[in-house]
Symmetry: C2
Subunit: 133 residues, 2 copies
Amino acid sequence: MQISSQTEYALRALAALALAEHEKPLSISEICKTQKLPPKYIEQIFRKLKKTGLVISIHGSKGGYKLGKDISEISLRDIMASLGENFGSSVCKSNTNYCIGLPCIYESLWDEIGKHLNSYFDSIKLDYIISKY
Amino acid sequence: MQISSQTEYALRALAALALAEHEKPLSISEICKTQKLPPKYIEQIFRKLKKTGLVISIHGSKGGYKLGKDISEISLRDIMASLGENFGSSVCKSNTNYCIGLPCIYESLWDEIGKHLNSYFDSIKLDYIISKY
DNA sequence: ACATTTCATACTAATTTACTATGTTATCTC
DNA sequence: GAGATAACATAGTAAATTAGTATGAAATGT
């Protein structure tokens, strides 16, 4: 039960964007220099963040990334979801049918827990995180 | 961010113990038959659960396991902790010093999240889970 | 034209997970 | 006391996941 490095890196990078002037975009290399993050990995992560609208990109020279939403509208859950990290049980996945033919109480339990975690992670917004700086 | 199979198996097995007569112990093989769990894996898991007092064991023939605490005093957090699954960040581990020399806001963030998750998982007790049967 | 930077895919080393295999020790029943 | 049963203990291992790297193409500013 850990926060993946992917998620933490995304969070750090987004925080860097949030703290920068929002006029001009920040390039991957600029972000990675100050935050000492692996650039090629961050590139991949940003492409995912772009697909869900968390960032927008400017192509070419002097290009880079800007936040796609207000800092009050980007939550830790949004980040995790963008990276494909949703909560679940590793046994009772919807398609494995571990409990086929049995009355499975666990599916509803994981569901309940998942809902709680999602709403909790959704309550942690980027503005709160950068307010700690 | 998933519940490991280890945790789910432990939960299923403990639920089986909770639902059984608490007079006589249940053996690994009995538990695994009804719950279709891998016996040797469950053995290892039960040894960990024993170390933290969640179960007690009776050695030898006609032996097996019984719950070590009341069902209202065994939480999902207890189970996860017994299995060594605590919350954390995969980057900001206490000894990696990822942020050495920087003011690290993330450590306190993971700490805050960890505390929330721990108290949430602590609120989910075995009696609540088996009440769903 | 050229440098810069995003975009896209493929590959890989290390770690973790979810087990299995093998053997030992303790206890009950006969 | 012999044998069956079941916990105890450690080692090994195949598959999946994670956390990256490598290579190259496409777009844009100077």
